[in-house]
Structures are given as structure tokens and as C-alpha cells.
């Protein structure tokens, strides 16, 4: 199965096996497809044993940071003195990323099952699934699935709740997400203290991404060795990953690939390449927060954590944004900067001012009023925005700007020198 396309023969369908199959959404349908087998298995294991299995599998966080999941779980206090919580990050808002939406829409029980297993592993009795406010359909489907699972008393004493966001990209940052659940503005918190010590409502908490948790049930049923073997390049990147491909390709959509798959094959083969008569110009492989690749870098990039770093970018969330030769990189980078300026929580000066000024300067360049010194000014601003704030939103705004100027400097200079007609009004 697949959605919106049938799975390509080069895909490895573990998470996406039932995408497009509406029957898999119901509790009965999920059980019929072998669902909740892993949960039953988890109930026979001690919490630490579940964590060990996940550690052994090599599973790393699929939200963007790629932190080893089992290791994260092991940070939770072994001896339980306070309530423990699990927060599921379903605030998918990273431009270019739309994989968690598909998991929740087609296989809501895969997420619920993974959530329950993780809760057992970290000894949490309450779990919150934080779904972004705009995801009306996934929210309804998850609600229905949760009601059916609860009616079947699938999770025993564990309580899983859905929590609806209300429009804020920053709530995908784990500490902002916890504040939002607490009924506060979604401002990220200074770390330490880390969530495993002082998380939601001040209690030990683990935050995991939707795709990460959906990968846990198959790891339990098939064993960590099976998962570890799913690796085409670097043994530190294991399993399958959903890549959301969007922009200028013939067949955008979600593709599930074994880690280490060549980006070139994903774009030219699985996605059907560029539109007729167009050529690839640039690609952002991990959601808008990671550096942009030019054509040569894109064609040489392997899709795993290390492969992306080797090309000077990051695997991030696996949101692959493709630009062909018709794209105006200056305008698109301005749009990305505007996104971050809009989404900045405005706590840190470097971010609040930096994202706004970056946008203004880019708009001025696009309006034909750029100055010769503007590119250096943008790079200087970006430098002040990197590694200096509470969270990485500010760094994320700098990434496309710095890499964009480095790789497509000529396009910026054309606007500044008046060789290109302004596309914005000052």
C-alpha cells in the first residue's frame, strides 16, 4: 500500500505498509493486521528490558535531532518517586515535513501502541499526544482510535490524552510543547534542567516524535537485530525513515526508505524527477531548518544522519524540499526567513530581532533596494543568531540564509546590482 502513490519497489514499507488502507484505522482492523501484538509482548517485559531492546535497535529520534531513543528513555529516574509523563510530539510544523500527519491519518493505532509501550518503558501513567491545531483530520482520527482502544480496555491503567495545539510552530520544541500543555505561552525553557528530571508539570518527562514511537512496535515484534540490519550505509543510522518530498518533483508524497538510501534515486526514480524541461537546482533534505544543498551536493547525498552531515547539512525531519531551475532562491529564502520571523516566540533578542531584520533585508533586496553590503550584513546577523539562544529557532532561520548566500550568491547580487527586475514593492 501507499499514499498518495502505491509503494515503489525500492521502498521498505514498515511504517507505511497500511497507508491508504482505511480499514487499518479501526481497532479491529489494526488487531487483524497484527496490531497490539507488540504491546502484549511489552507487558511481559520489565521496563528496563524494553528500553534495552530499543537501545539495541539503534532507533534514533525522527523529529529532527536524531537522538538515540533508548538512551533518552534511560535518562528517566529508575526509582519512581514522582509521577512520570510521556509527551508525544505531533506538532509537525517544519516546512517540508508531512509524515506524522500520514501516520496519524492512516495508522493511528501504530502511534497509540508505540505510545503505550514507551509509557511502560519509562513508567509513565499519563501520556499527552500534542497535535497541532491545524491538523483537524488527524485529530479526529486519533480521537476515534483512542476511544476504540479505550473501549477495548487496551491500555489497562495507562491514560493517554490528546492535546490540541492552537497555531505555534515553536511548540514543536520539546520544552515549549510542555509549557503549552501546562496552559502557558509556548516559550522554550532554558536547559538544564532537562525534561527527564523536570519536565511537564515539573515531573520527569520524555518527549518523543510520532514517527519514532510508531517504529517501536515493529522493533519489538521483529527484534532489534532485524531493525539494525536495515541500514545501507552507516551502521549508526538504522531502520526505515519516512521522507516527505515536496516542491518541484513529479510525484510528491511520503516515501519510506531504508537509512542510507541515495537522495538522487529518491528524487529521480521514486519521485519521477523534475517536471518536463526542468532541471534540479537545489534541495533542502531535512525540513527548512537545515542548510540548502546545490545540485551536485544533492546528487551525492546519502539519506542517513551521517550522510547528510557529510554534505554539510542534516537529515532533520526528513522533509525534502525540491527546487528546480525556475525557483527564485532569493524569494524562497525570504519566505523561509519570514516563516521564522512569524514563528519566533520573541523571548531571545537575537531571534526576535534577527529573524525580523533578516526578513526585512531580504525584502529590501527583492524590492531592488539592496545595498552592496547587505550580504555581509545578513551573514553577520546570522552569525549572531547561531548558538546563542534558548532554542534553535534562531539557528534554523540562519541555516537557509547562510547556505543560500554561499551557494546562490549570484542570484542575490543580481537583485542588488539591478540586473534582475524587483519582485517586491518596497
Amino acid at each position: 500500500m501507499g499514499y498518495p502513490h502505491k509503494a515503489h519497489r525500492k521502498e521498505t514499507t514498515v511504517l507505511s505498509k497500511y497507508f491508504g488502507d482505511p480499514e487499518a484505522r479501526s481497532y479491529k482492523g489494526w488487531v487483524k493486521r497484527g496490531g497490539y501484538e507488540a504491546w502484549r509482548q511489552a507487558l511481559t517485559l520489565a521496563p528496563a528490558a524494553i528500553t534495552d531492546l530499543v537501545k539495541e535497535s539503534g532507533l534514533r529520534g525522527r523529529g529532527g535531532a536524531g537522538f538515540p531513543t533508548g538512551l533518552k528513555w534511560s535518562f528517566m529516574p529508575k526509582e519512581k518517586k514522582k509521577p512520570h509523563y510521556l509527551c508525544v510530539n505531533a506538532d509537525e510544523s517544519e516546512p517540508g515535513t508531512f509524515k506524522d500527519r500520514e501516520i496519524m491519518r492512516w495508522t493511528p493505532h501504530a502511534l497509540l501502541e508505540g505510545t503505550a509501550i514507551a509509557m511502560r518503558a519509562i513508567q509513565a501513567e499519563v501520556g499527552y499526544i500534542y497535535i497541532r491545531g491545524e491538523f483537524t483530520e488527524p485529530y479526529a482520527i486519533m480521537g476515534q482510535a483512542l476511544a476504540e482502544a479505550n473501549a477495548a480496555r487496551a491500555f489497562g491503567d495507562l491514560k493517554i490524552h490528546l492535546h490540541r495545539g492552537a497555531g505555534a510552530y515553536i511548540c514543536g520544541e520539546e520544552t515549549a510543547l510542555m509549557n503549552s500543555i501546562e496552559g502557558k505561552r509556548g516559550n522554550p525553557r532554558i536547559k538544564p534542567p532537562f525534561p527527564a528530571a523536570f519536565g511537564v508539570f515539573g515531573m520527569p518527562t520524555t518527549i518523543n516524535n510520532v514517527e519514532t514511537l510508531a517504529a517501536v512496535p515493529p522493533i519489538l515484534t521483529n527484534g532489534p537485530a532485524w531493525y539494525k540490519k536495515l541500514s545501507l550505509s552507516n551502521p549508526k543510522s538504522t531502520g526505515t525513515k519516512l521522507f516527505s518530498v515536496c516542491g518541484h518533483v513529479q510525484k510528491p508524497g511520503n516515501y519510506e526508505l531504508t537509512m542510507g538510501f541515495p537522495l538522487k534515486d529518491l528524487l529521480y526514480e521514486l519521485c519521477g524527477g523534475m517536471r518536463p524541461g526542468r532541471t534540479l537546482k537545489a534541495c533542502i533534505p531535512g525540513g527548512s531548518s537545515v542548510p540548502i544543498l546545490d545540485r551536485a551536493e544533492t546528487e551525492a547525498c546519502l539519506l542517513d544522519y551521517e550522510g547528510a552531515v557529510e554534505r554539510g547539512t542534516m537529515l532533520g525531519s526528513g522533509g525534502v524540499i525540491v527546487f528546480d531551475d525556475s525557483a527564485d532562491m532569493v524569494y524562497q529564502i525570504m519566505r523561509l526567513a519570514r516563516f521564522y520571523a512569524h514563528e519566533s516566540c520573541a523571548q531571545c533578542t537575537q531571534c526576535r530581532e534577527g529573524t525580523a531584520w533578516t526578513t526585512k533585508i531580504l525584502e529590501r533586496i527583492l524590492a531592488g533596494q539592496g545595498k552592496a553590503t547587505d550580504l555581509d550584513l545578513l551573514l553577520d546577523l546570522s552569525d549572531n543568531m547561531t548558538g546563542k539562544t534558548i532554542c534553535v529557532l534562531s539557528d534554523s532561520c540562519a541555516a537557509p540564509v547562510v547556505s543560500g548566500i554561499k551557494k546562490f550568491r549570484g542570484e542575490f547580487e543580481d537583485y542588488i546590482a539591478g540586473r534582475r527586475r524587483p519582485v517586491m514593492v518596497a
Binding site: 498518495p4 509521577p83 509537525e92 510544523s93 517544519e94 516546512p95 517540508g96 515535513t97 508531512f98 500527519r101 497541532r132 491545531g133 491545524e134 491538523f135 483537524t136 483530520e137 491514560k159 490524552h161 492535546h163 490540541r164 495545539g165 492552537a166 497555531g167 505555534a168 510552530y169 503549552s180 500543555i181 501546562e182 496552559g183 502557558k184 505561552r185 509556548g186 508539570f201 516527505s244 518530498v245 515536496c246 516542491g247 518541484h248 510528491p252 508524497g253 511520503n254 527548512s288 522533509g319 524540499i321 527546487f323 525556475s326 525557483a327 524569494y331 524562497q332 519566505r335 523561509l336 519570514r338 516563516f339 512569524h342 514563528e343 516566540c345
Partner: protein, 173 residues
């Protein structure tokens, strides 16, 4: 930046009709059981208000504050943080169009123009003279492979193109 055509004041001369009575109050009470603090129910409580009233007025915020043991100023601080809470009335059909880069390169701005024209809303954030439509641009709706996604009220529509807009608007009229 979108500018609202609506006044935000709602001093109101009529007596205030509380939101949290009867069934809505029961819903809120069920929500309170999900969180260890009353404040935890703030976001869902605000959603309840918006579902009931279409927007969240200053007086609604004062009521929410009283119910959850917070101050009105605190509640307002939270309301203003989240873009989906309306602080003024909006058109009967509230339309959100994604125009962030991935949708942008697939023609999202043309979809916005088509919607502003077909609905008669004319200006981003303004409401059409018949009170039926408000159109806004939003940042990433998280459905980039289905450019251009459009959210009309609670209906999430995929792959909207300018050509599809007139028929779409007709459906909601």
C-alpha cells in the same frame, strides 16, 4: 502582515452570557480531569469558547480566567500567543492558505489571489461585505506534498489550485 477590519473592543451593553454552562461546563469538567493542574485545561477551554462563540472576546477571557483560577491578563497573554484563537469575529467561513516556500513554489500565492477574488474578501484578513468569508495566509500547514493545502473552517483541503477555487467557494456559499 494581515490587518483585521474588525473592531476588537467588546465592552458590550448586554448582560454577559457565560459560555461554561450545561453541556459545555460538563465538557470542561471532563477536560479538567486530564491535567494535574487547572491551568492545564487552558488551551482546550479556549477551544471550547471559540467553538461556541466563533471567537474569544475579552469578556470570554475573563470568564475562562475565573473558571480556571487565573487572571484575565494571563489568559490574554496565552490567547495572543497562539495564532488560531480569534480575538475578533471572523467571517462565517474562515479560510487559511499555506504560502510557505514548498507551497509557494507550487503557486500558493495564485491560490490566495483566486480566493480573495472569488469570495469577495478582497484583502487578507478582512471579511467579505456579506460577512461570509475571511481569507488569511498562514505559515506551513504541514501538508507540503499536497500543495496548496487550504483549511476552510475545520475542513482540511489538499491540492487546491486557482482553477478549483470558484467551485470550492460555491460549495461553502
Amino acid at each position: 502582515m494581515s490587518v483585521s477590519a474588525h473592531p476588537t473592543h467588546d465592552a458590550g451593553t448586554e448582560p454577559y452570557q457565560p459560555v461554561f454552562t450545561g453541556k459545555v461546563l460538563e465538557e470542561l469538567q471532563a477536560l479538567l480531569g486530564r491535567y494535574p493542574t487547572k491551568q492545564g485545561a487552558l488551551l482546550p477551554a479556549l477551544w471550547l469558547v471559540q467553538q461556541q462563540r466563533g471567537w474569544i472576546s475579552d469578556r470570554n477571557m475573563t470568564e475562562v480566567a475565573a473558571v480556571l483560577g487565573l487572571t484575565p491578563a494571563y489568559v490574554k497573554g496565552v490567547v495572543t500567543f497562539y495564532t488560531m484563537y480569534h480575538q475578533h469575529p471572523v467571517g462565517q467561513n474562515f479560510v487559511q492558505v499555506c504560502t510557505t516556500s514548498p507551497c509557494n513554489i507550487c503557486g500558493a500565492e495564485d491560490v490566495v489571489r483566486a480566493l480573495l477574488q472569488a469570495t469577495g474578501a478582497k484583502e487578507l484578513g478582512a471579511t467579505s461585505p456579506d460577512g461570509k468569508w475571511t481569507v488569511i495566509e498562514v505559515e506551513c500547514l504541514g501538508a507540503c506534498g499536497f500543495a496548496t493545502p487550504v483549511l476552510i473552517n475545520d475542513d482540511f483541503l489538499e491540492s487546491v489550485s486557482p482553477e478549483k477555487v470558484p467551485e470550492l467557494v460555491q460549495r461553502y456559499r
